[in-house]
């Protein structure tokens, strides 16, 4: 297991990658209280290299990476609006660094 200092170092570095390379998005909660939040998310379209993703979620599936510190809980059917396009979340997976939950991986179904 990483030491606390190393874990913080890598966690902060990974968050910085997202801050630098991510895109602005508006999250909308589907359940009450239907909260919204402006966040920066990692945004990727599944390509030919993501065979398992395409098999699971279809051609053109999207992967959104969100910091847990920005949005504590993301559920299926929550949505993100990015550049006017609305993306509805089909599946949410946690991403840990050692035992600490740091990111959410949100999958948007393609065709």
């Amino acid at each position: 297991m990483l030491s606390s200092a190393d874990r913080k170092k890598f966690r902060d570095a990974q968050k910085q990658v997202l801050d630098l390379l991510g895109v602005p998005a508006v999250w909308t909660q589907v359940k009450a209280p239907k909260a919204t939040s402006s966040v920066t998310v990692g945004f990727k379209t599944a390509s030919w290299q993501d065979e398992e993703l395409i098999n699971a979620f279809g051609i053109g599936a999207k992967v959104l990476t969100v910091k847990v510190s920005d949005i504590a809980v993301i559920e299926k059917f929550d949505a993100f609006v990015i550049s006017g396009e609305r993306y509805t979340i089909d599946s949410v997976m946690p991403v840990h660094i050692n035992g600490e939950l740091v990111f959410w991986k949100c999958f948007v179904r393609g065709k």
């Binding site: 297991m1 990483l2 030491s3 606390s4 200092a5 170092k9 990974q14 990658v17 390379l21 990111f103």
Partner: protein, 189 residues
């Protein structure tokens, strides 16, 4: 924000008391390193300084900002003192076999820039203080980090002296910290 145990525990993401001993040591070590470099004492307290074979018109005290001078023994000369610089100015030149100054000085609360510098220095030493036994990662900067499905960021390699500073690090104190604390170095006269 203060430079205290609670702040450091938040900084390293610890909520229990498992690191309290190491954190307290690291906190005291940071203050000691800063005080060594600045040649002054930072925390507010009563203090006594003796000057042997004193022959000057100005005394430079180590613990300032000065709050009060209780007594100066060894000379009857009138004096004035500067709260900010810690200097005691005698009206005339003083010679004394032993000059003793009893006073109260130091920061009640560290200024924000010193707190920031202390936190930076804490980051630099923490891994060594905590043992670093559970990680094979060097204590230096990360050169490249990849977040899957987002991208990769590569940082300019180099030591802690990078960042446009012309300063060299003073041992364990990074150059960036030195750039902040240099203005607090004790005035010598």
């Amino acid at each position: 924000m203060n430079f205290d145990l609670a702040t450091l525990k938040i900084r390293i993401g610890v909520t229990d008391t498992s690191k309290d001993v190491n954190l307290t040591f690291a906190m005291e070590l940071v203050i000691a390193l800063l005080e060594d470099y600045l040649d002054r004492k930072l925390s507010k307290a009563d203090d006594t300084e003796k000057f042997i074979h004193f022959a000057a018109s100005v005394v430079s005290l180590h613990r300032y900002p000065l709050h009060s001078i209780a007594s100066i023994s060894g000379s009857n000369e009138k004096f004035h003192w500067s709260e900010v610089t810690g200097l005691v100015h005698f009206d005339h030149h003083v010679t004394a076999h032993e000059l003793t100054v009893v006073y109260n000085g130091g920061f009640e609360t560290l200024p924000q820039d010193l707190i920031f510098a202390a936190l930076q220095l804490f980051d630099a030493i923490w891994d060594d203080v905590d043992g670093g036994s559970s990680s094979s990662v060097a204590a230096g900067s990360i050169s490249r980090i990849t977040l899957q499905d987002v991208g990769t960021v590569s940082y300019a390699t180099g030591n802690s002296n990078a960042g446009g500073s012309l300063l060299q690090s003073a041992g364990v104190i990074p150059a960036t910290v030195m750039g902040i604390i240099d203005s607090y170095r004790r005035v010598l006269c």
